[in-house]
């Protein structure tokens, strides 16, 4: 069952990733990316990361993709959107890098099963010990408190930066405005 769901989610993720890169219309690409995000969230659920699955849907599918869709539609990109000239070179380099990484993964001796007794003890028992959200929250507010605060600073900088960048007349075009 776990294997079946992995292969379902994995194949849809790979297919949608290829579609995102290959489709010529940006709106279609964004839709393919949306489907991919849903399936990544499903993969997270099978890996017992329920909180991240929910966050994936809310933040990625709900916020980030809507932002992309807004910009694609505001700019109304129906113009020439072909590929670069070095398509073959790019695909070749990508396949080369993929082959290298696959070879390394094959030799790395990674664990076949989860290392601790989580899977052995039975999935229902493991879920009952502590909720996923609770565990992440504890780690976030104790061990990773400082990175968490830095993350808030990053978001603040991004917010101010986005406003300054996108607002007309703030960046040296004042004469146009008057």
């Amino acid at each position: 069952m776990a294997t079946l769901s992995f292969f379902y989610f994995g194949s849809v993720i790979v297919l949608c990733a290829l579609l995102v890169v290959a489709l010529r219309n940006p709106v279609h690409s964004v839709i393919a990316l949306l489907v991919m995000f849903f399936h990544i969230a499903g993969l997270f659920v099978t890996l017992h990361a329920e909180f991240l699955a929910a966050v994936q849907l809310i933040v990625y599918a709900g916020a980030i993709l809507v932002l992309y869709l807004f910009v694609v539609m505001i700019l109304n990109l129906q113009q020439d959107d072909s590929y670069q000239r070095q398509v073959k070179l790019g695909v070749g380099l990508g396949l080369l890098a993929l082959a290298e990484v696959t070879a390394i993964i094959g030799k790395a001796g990674l664990p076949e099963e989860p290392v601790s007794g989580r899977a052995a003890a039975g999935e229902a028992a493991a879920a009952a010990v502590a909720g996923n959200t609770e565990t992440i929250g504890k780690a976030l507010y104790t061990t990773y408190l400082f990175p968490f605060e830095v993350a808030s600073l990053i978001l603040l900088v991004a917010m101010i930066g986005a406003i300054i960048m996108a607002k007309k007349g703030l960046m040296g075009q004042e004469s146009e405005q008057k």
Partner: protein, 100 residues
């Protein structure tokens, strides 16, 4: 149970797709979408390792990756809008203002 290496290969495929997307697309919005693909590939890796090594740190890192992705999208799209207003194009081949 699926071996951990399967998740890593899946993540590597998605990441390579993102790299190829950055290399071959002309539309600058598609470049940002490809970067999203790569970030999601790392997220799959983090969550898989978090499950297989039974360590919650991986999931916390996905949380930070999400933060950075959100910030990147906000600033990146704002830059694209400013560029489009200025140059009326989103073709990366024509955006060579800083090319030496």
């Amino acid at each position: 149970m699926v071996p951990l290496s399967y998740y890593m290969i899946l993540s590597a495929i998605v990441f390579a797709t993102g790299v190829v997307g950055v290399l071959i697309r002309r539309n600058i919005i598609m470049l940002l979408l490809s970067i999203e693909l790569m970030l999601n590939a790392t997220n799959i890796n983090f969550v898989a390792f978090s499950y297989y090594l039974d360590n919650v740190a991986g999931q916390v890192f996905v949380f930070f990756v999400l933060t950075v992705a959100a910030a990147e999208v906000a600033v990146g799209l704002a830059i694209i809008i400013a560029l489009y207003r200025d140059k009326a194009t989103v073709n990366v081949a024509e955006l060579n203002l800083m090319k030496w």
